[in-house]
Every structure is written in C-alpha cells, then in structure tokens.
Symmetry: C2
Subunit: 341 residues, 2 copies
Amino acid sequence: MRAAVYHGPGDVRVEDRERPTIAAPTDAVVRVTHTAVCGSDLWFYRGERDREVGSAVGHEPMGVVEAVGDEVRSVDVGDRVFAPFLASCGACEFCRKGLHTSCVNGASWGGANGGAQGEYVRSPHADGTLVRVPDRHADDEATLRALLPLTDVMGTGHHAVVSAGVTAGATCVVFGDGAVGLCSVLAARRLGAERIVAVGHHADRLELAAEFGATETVLARGEAAVERTRELTDGGANHVAECVGGAALDDAVAAARPGGTVGYVGVPTEPFDVGAAFSKNVALRGGIAPVRAYADELMADVLGGTLDPSPVFTHTVALEDVPEGYRLMDEREAIKVLVEV
Amino acid sequence: MRAAVYHGPGDVRVEDRERPTIAAPTDAVVRVTHTAVCGSDLWFYRGERDREVGSAVGHEPMGVVEAVGDEVRSVDVGDRVFAPFLASCGACEFCRKGLHTSCVNGASWGGANGGAQGEYVRSPHADGTLVRVPDRHADDEATLRALLPLTDVMGTGHHAVVSAGVTAGATCVVFGDGAVGLCSVLAARRLGAERIVAVGHHADRLELAAEFGATETVLARGEAAVERTRELTDGGANHVAECVGGAALDDAVAAARPGGTVGYVGVPTEPFDVGAAFSKNVALRGGIAPVRAYADELMADVLGGTLDPSPVFTHTVALEDVPEGYRLMDEREAIKVLVEV
C-alpha cells in the first residue's frame, strides 16, 4: 500500500509500505478514504519534537472496514467508520468515565498499526476505537467531510469549552484561530454561549470564527489581546478556552475573571505562572482531549445538520500530495488540509 | 497601644503604636483578645518576602468591638467578633459569589488599620469583614480557641478540599502536615470523605492528622511520597488537596488520578510543570482562600461541637512574647502559636 512516512524535519514522503493485517481478535483493518494533516503533525515536521525516521504518519482516519477480528462486535466489513487520534478500549475505568485518552489499553496510530495518512490502518480495540457512521449517511461526501474533524480538532475544541464550563448564556473567550480554536467557537455556540469572543492574529480566520458564531473578534496577540478581551468583558471572562498552547495559557489566565475557569487544550510548552491563577482563584481544566467521548453526540448534530466544522478544511490534496499538504499547513496557507486517499 | 512590628528578617518587636480610630462610617475598631502567628508570617520573618520595616504584623484578629462607624449595621460595641486575613465589603460581585479574596473593596491588615498582633485593629467594611460570635458563646474560652483558626488556616484547609471536589464517600490525599494541611484533613472528614491519606514529614503532626480523621498517613516527601500515595490509591486519587506550596504542586498532580482534581492553597513559588496535568486531564482549582465565605458554616459546626481545629495551637504566648511565638514557628517547635492579647 501507499503511505506517508517521516524522513526528518520538512521531509515527509509517500512510499510503499506493508499493509497492516489483523493481529489480535479485537483488531479491525480499515481502508482509509479520508484523513487530514494536523497542526500537531507540524511539531515533528518542524523538528520541534523527535520522531522515529521511517515511521508512518497521520492520526485522523476515516474509511471503510476491510476486515475484523473474531471478537469485534460493533463494526463489520463494509461499514463506514472514523476514529480518534488515539485508540481506546472503551471498557476500562477511564473510558467508562469519558477519559479515553487515559485508557489503560490505549494505543497510537503509526508503527505496526500504520499511519492514517496511508491506504490502510489497523485499529486496535476496534469496538472501543471505531465510530460507525450510520449507513444512510455513509456515502454522502459532504457529511463525511463534516464528520472528519470529529477525529481530532472538533472534539478537541469541544473539550476546551466543556472544560471551561461553558453552558447556555455564558460569555466565553476563545484564544486561537487555528482549526481547534475555530471548532471551539462552534462548540461554544452549540452549548448556547451568548457571547463568544474569538482571539487570533489572522483576519481571514477570524472571519470564519464570526461565521462559526463568534459575536466579537480580537485581532491581536499577547498583552494587547489580553487587554482588549478584558475591556470587552469588563475585567475578564468567566470562561476562557485556550486553543493555542505554549505561552498562551498565561494570556488565558490573564483574560479570565476572578473565580473563572480556563479550559485548555493547547499543549503547554512554556513554564507557566501558576501564581496568576492562584491570586484570583482561576481554575485550570482540560488537557489532551478525549475526543472518543464526544464522538457520538457531535456526530448526532452533524447528521442532524446543526453542526458543520468542514469549513476548517481550506485545502484538499490526494494521498500522493501529502507532502504538499504539510507545506500548506507549515506556511499557514491552509487552516487544515483534508487528504483524499 | 502595644503592637508587634516588623524590623527586618528575624526581628519582630512589641512596641507602642498609635491606636487606630474610626476613619470611615463603615469602619469598626476591635480590641483584639486573641490572635495567632501564621506560617505565612514566616515569609517576611525569614526574609523570603519583602515587607516594609516598621509595619505592624498579624492578620488573624479576634476580639471585642470597641467602636463602630455610623453606617455599620451588623455588629455593635461589645460584640465578640473575628475576621479573615483580608477585609472585604460583602456586597460586590465577587463577595456575592463567595470569592471575598477578589473583593473590589478589599483591604489588608497592617498599615493604618493596625496589625492583628496588637491591642487594636480598625476593620474596614466592618459589615462585610467581621463575623459576629453569638452572645451565648462569646466568652467561652474553649469555643474562642476553636473559632480562631477560622480567620485563616481552617478556612484555607476547607478551601483546598472544596476546590479538590471532595464530597461524601471520596478518597482524598492531603499534602502537608502544617496547620493548613491538618485543617484540610478535618475539612475532608467533615465533608464525608471515606479515605483520607495525609502526607507529611513530621511523625507527631501526622499523629494529629490521624486524630483529625486521616485514615492513612504517609511519612515521606517528594517522589517517595508520590509513589506511596499512588500505591495506596491504586494509581492516584481523584481528589488531592495541596497545602504546602512551592514544588509540592507537582507532587500533588503526580499523585492525582487521571481526570482527578487538585485543590491547591499552598502558594506556588516554583515553575510548575503544567504538562503533567495536561497529559492526564488533572484539573487545578483553588488559590488564595476566601475564608470569609466559609466562616458562617464552619462556625455553626464549631458552636455545634462537631468541629474543633484548636489542637493546631500547640503553643500559647502573651502579646509581649510574640517574638518568641515567631521563633517557635520558625524552628517548627510549634504547629501554630496562639497569642493572648
């Protein structure tokens, strides 16, 4: 089969690889039809995080079940499915409480499972991992494009606002105008937020944020962004979704109202000044998003026509053009790249 | 009047000072009868935090109202009262939501208000700040000693476990065997925690923790403490109260179960590795404790005989001996020192 493989910073190639097969009775093999390039793929692409040379890449698979192990019960050959960026068993303590990212049987894409930016992947714990798309929607291209973000960015954006405690009537500030930040705006609107202030530094992306439901946008970064959001919210918001990572967590805390909550999904890389949160009792909730926990409820809304994150896919490439997809993401020409396999 | 005054690290003296008087119609003047030396007083005593030389010290006042301004309605001359470590108006947005430490009219003890380790203090916003002890309990010495910790350490320990989400049946780990950690154990028991693991490094204080309700104690620090608590809780507790400060926040996160909550009241001084919280979705809640919010409910239990934090007062000194009280605290001979004024 053909699959995208990491060869070093800035060097992703599409090559022939061995096709994964059923190894355990709980496995399924999925023929990938749609996948995506993720902002987090840029970490290794930019050399900011180590990755084994020769490893298959991609972690947002959608496709059709090709084979199932003997113990798989929830999906069968021919089913349209998608899967989160991590596999999970669905049955352990943490999966049962909706924290699939802490699954005691959890597994990653890549390695012997194959990467999602390839023709086939093996899904460990298929019953827990794969989300089946109902047959009547299984071949509708627009629906599939709207469901694909549920593998990662839509579930992650949703986790940010859920963690921030957003409920109907809330005022919420969203830091970040990448795919996750934009999905966070969608998720906040879906939860009934009354005011959604989107903060970013790309005018075109903030336009999309407004289409997604942001009632106000702030085109600024760092201190200027904090100052403007504090003005707009009379001293800070009770709910702040942090979808950037790095030092943005400090900005999010600064933009929070005393007693408020920051829901964070951006990966923290900088030392964080917890003293600022301490002095005004701002809670920090969130972390790596258990998107599997949210897949069913978000899919119901996509299928019902009330949720459509597909506009984050500003560009589409074929599998052979995945390297171009990385370039588009790296140079910020694309918000997110869809890959047709 | 006589009052304790800061003269530099290791140098607190009792001197003659001008007695505070009513300055605003919302003020009250309180003749202090009981106060305490606090672990946080050691920050300036040890030179770890700057403080103005010549400033009056002490922030845990209990006494009898001596005078009230024209607009004061909730207390009158002769009432027995106590007050939290910060004054608050009781009427602003943040006081109304129970976050008195973010009061927009908040004020500190010391300065022109006088320090609580002195014969008189002026309470700004007396209606919001002062807690009146019902007359029938107003002169019972044992009751007053049990109420005095509500000015700071008992409310702070309570805030830690409330922030950690402790409810009936919970398993809770408490980091810290100082007065706040011990009060946190009491608070966890009061909230119905089923298992309370107290972590500290003083055998005698852990004995008191056991008397206060700890079901298990761990005599260890740092990594060894984390390892033992994780063993005891099968991989981490859903509720961790952090009552130490500094680097203990990292230990508290390490001892938390994926998806759990750390309630922290220890003042963070070290860079905090938020990545550890991110990877397992451990929430951080807490901060400087709004002890005024908890004073009435905790007082009800003290007066009802079901709550008694007074054993944290291992030593009692007279006002003239406040310097000795600091020494006892600094050398860890005392858990907490009560001052009879």
